[in-house]
């Protein structure tokens, strides 16, 4: 009996360990490659540790080689992404919160249909709206500007944020709102003094989700922004694709880690919280 338990325990840890290997390998390879020199990369193998830790690739990925226009590096695009991500995140989260509140706590005729349309909107393939969006941005005169991308991300984030807040507010007793109505509080008063103070969990989930979505976006970035206005994922892709007679894998990897760093840090800091919130909906649903 004891043996049997031990055996299955060992098997369990073997499988779990194997997957640790699968998930961690790419990150490990990225990190060690980014710290090696090109010579070491050519001569050594994928997994070998760098002989000396060398941050040159990081410096080049961040600030370039100083070769002028043919030089691509991430620094300006990193800030572009921040400029786009933060406002879009705030706008879509606030609107989503108030939508979720209005749709659950002030049920009016058609509220369910409206929610359904929001929900369905989150599933559409973006290819179906790419061309008219390009036309619209051009028409508004905000194509190829951070404002354009802020608009795009706010609009297409709205479905998700509304969904999150709606699901959260559905679980909060309607009676609280009724009590506040009897007490004489109005629509906004109830939202700001009663519901918002208890929305921290879902706020965190929404903010992390939106940040990750917007930061990691490539399709909108590559379609609606060009050259110096591009967000970081587009810049990373350009950098990796840029023709040079030598491929600098160490610089590519350093750049990739840089582009992933903000979301990675957020994930490590608040990941568990985030997963809890995110999975709650799909498990219940």
């Amino acid at each position: 009996m004891l043996n049997k338990i031990n055996f299955s325990r060992i098997f369990l840890f073997l499988i779990l360990g194997l997957f640790v290997f699968y998930y961690i390998t790419p990150l490990y390879v990225m990190i060690v490659t980014s710290l090696k020199s090109m010579n070491e990369i050519r001569e050594g193998n994928l997994f070998s540790l760098p002989s000396t830790i060398n941050f040159d690739a990081w410096k080049i990925a961040w600030g370039g080689r100083g070769e002028g226009t043919s030089d691509t590096f991430l620094k300006p695009y990193f800030f572009n992404s921040l400029k786009i991500t933060i406002p879009a995140l705030i706008i879509s989260t606030l609107l989503g919160a108030i939508n979720g509140y209005a749709l659950t706590k002030w049920k009016f005729k058609g509220a369910n249909l409206i929610f359904l349309l929001f929900l369905f909107g989150t599933f559409i393939p973006y290819q179906a709206i790419l061309l008219p969006m390009a036309r619209t941005l051009g028409f508004l005169g905000i194509s190829n500007s951070p404002i354009g991308l802020i608009l795009v991300h706010s609009v297409y984030g709205l479905g998700f944020t509304t969904l999150f807040f709606r699901n959260y507010y559905v679980s909060i007793s309607d009676e609280i709102v009724k009590a506040a109505k009897v007490d004489g509080a109005g629509f906004f008063k109830i939202f700001f003094t009663i519901l918002l103070p208890i929305s921290l969990p879902i706020l965190v989930v929404t903010i992390i989700f939106q940040f990750t979505q917007i930061w990691n976006d490539f399709l909108f970035g590559v379609t609606f922004s060009f050259g110096e206005h591009a967000p970081i994922q587009v810049a990373l892709n350009n950098m990796v694709l840029t023709s040079a007679s030598v491929k600098y894998y160490n610089v590519d990897m350093a750049a990739a880690i840089m582009a992933a760093l903000p979301t990675l840090v957020i994930y490590i800091l608040a990941g568990n919280y985030f997963i809890k919130g995110l999975t709650a909906g799909s498990v219940k649903g």
């Binding site: 369990l12 779990l16 990150l27 008219p132 609009v155 498990v283």
Partner: protein, 291 residues
């Protein structure tokens, strides 16, 4: 004033709703209309019937893209769910280092597909990556060049995609497992069921809604998969790893075939709708039943 007070909730939702109607449904309608025109570089609003759809389905490249989408979607779903289920069940066995393991299984989700593609492109690189590593280990004849082999490159996209998304599926299943009423499992234990049969016959069947959610999320991810293909293979070698999402942008912005591109986008939209609409419908029904 009274009117305003009464309609305030509607007024507050109205801007978002208007934005939604315009930017989602209006745009889809626009795209649908353009798919019925002979638009080239710029939209042209002269009605042309379903010619673009006929052209689309006559294009070998579109067939490649659709076939790849099927291969990718099916493998992606099966692998993600398989890994998700296995890992979640194993993690559910009161593992002491659960928190640590979860963090590792889940971090790829925080990475963009571009980063994922960049990393895997390097690892799967046939001259410098895994192949070289294994060769150096002494297996000189080892070959692993899927990335550059037509017909195989689509599977590298599966590998990278599964790597990025399976952790999240694991998390969904784990949350599902934890939400199952303990008493059912206790009852089964009292009845003398083994751990394996408890999971196979009782727990997993109870997680049907979780499976449904996971499948919908994964289908949705796979149809949208554009970034990963671009970063990993760019649809190559040749067009062998093309996918509808890549096809659409190539046609729209590479070939000046806006009409054709719109037709392909509408095909994607129709595919997603065919899966999502029944799902949402059943979800909504259930929600009302619960009430």
């Amino acid at each position: 004033m009274e009117w305003l007070k009464k309609n305030l909730p509607k007024i507050v939702v109205a801007p978002s709703f208007a934005v939604l109607l315009w930017f989602v449904y209006g745009f889809i309608a626009w795209t649908f209309y353009v798919s019925l025109t002979n638009s080239k570089l710029l939209p042209n609003y002269e009605f042309w019937g379903i010619h673009q759809y006929i052209r689309l389905w006559q294009m070998p490249r579109w067939h490649v893209a659709v076939e790849n989408l099927f291969i990718f979607t099916i493998l992606f779903i099966i692998l993600c769910i398989f890994i998700g289920v296995i890992l979640s069940i194993f993690l559910d066995q009161k593992i002491r280092s659960e928190g640590f393991l979860k963090t590792i299984y889940l971090y790829p989700m925080a990475l963009s597909f571009i980063v994922t593609g960049t990393a895997w492109k390097w690892i799967l690189n046939p001259t410098m990556g895994i192949e070289k590593f294994v060769n150096q280990l002494g297996f000189e004849n080892f070959q692993f060049d899927w990335l550059v082999t037509p017909g195989m490159s689509i599977y590298t996209i599966v590998i990278a995609g599964v790597w990025q998304s399976s952790g999240f599926i694991m998390a969904i299943f784990l949350a599902g497992l934890r939400s199952i009423d303990d008493e059912v499992i206790k009852a089964a234990k009292v009845d003398g069921a083994s751990t394996i049969s408890i999971y196979m016959k009782i727990v997993l069947p109870m997680m049907r809604p979780v499976f449904m959610s996971a499948i919908v999320i994964l289908v949705h991810l796979s149809i949208k998969s554009y970034d990963l293909v671009i970063a990993l293979t760019a649809g190559g070698p040749g067009i062998s790893s093309d996918m509808p999402a890549v096809f659409m942008t190539k046609m729209a912005f590479g070939r000046s075939e806006i009409g054709l591109a719109s037709a392909s986008a509408i095909m994607m939209f129709a595919t997603v709708s065919a899966i999502i609409v029944p799902y949402l419908y059943s979800e909504l029904r259930r929600e009302q039943d619960v009430k």
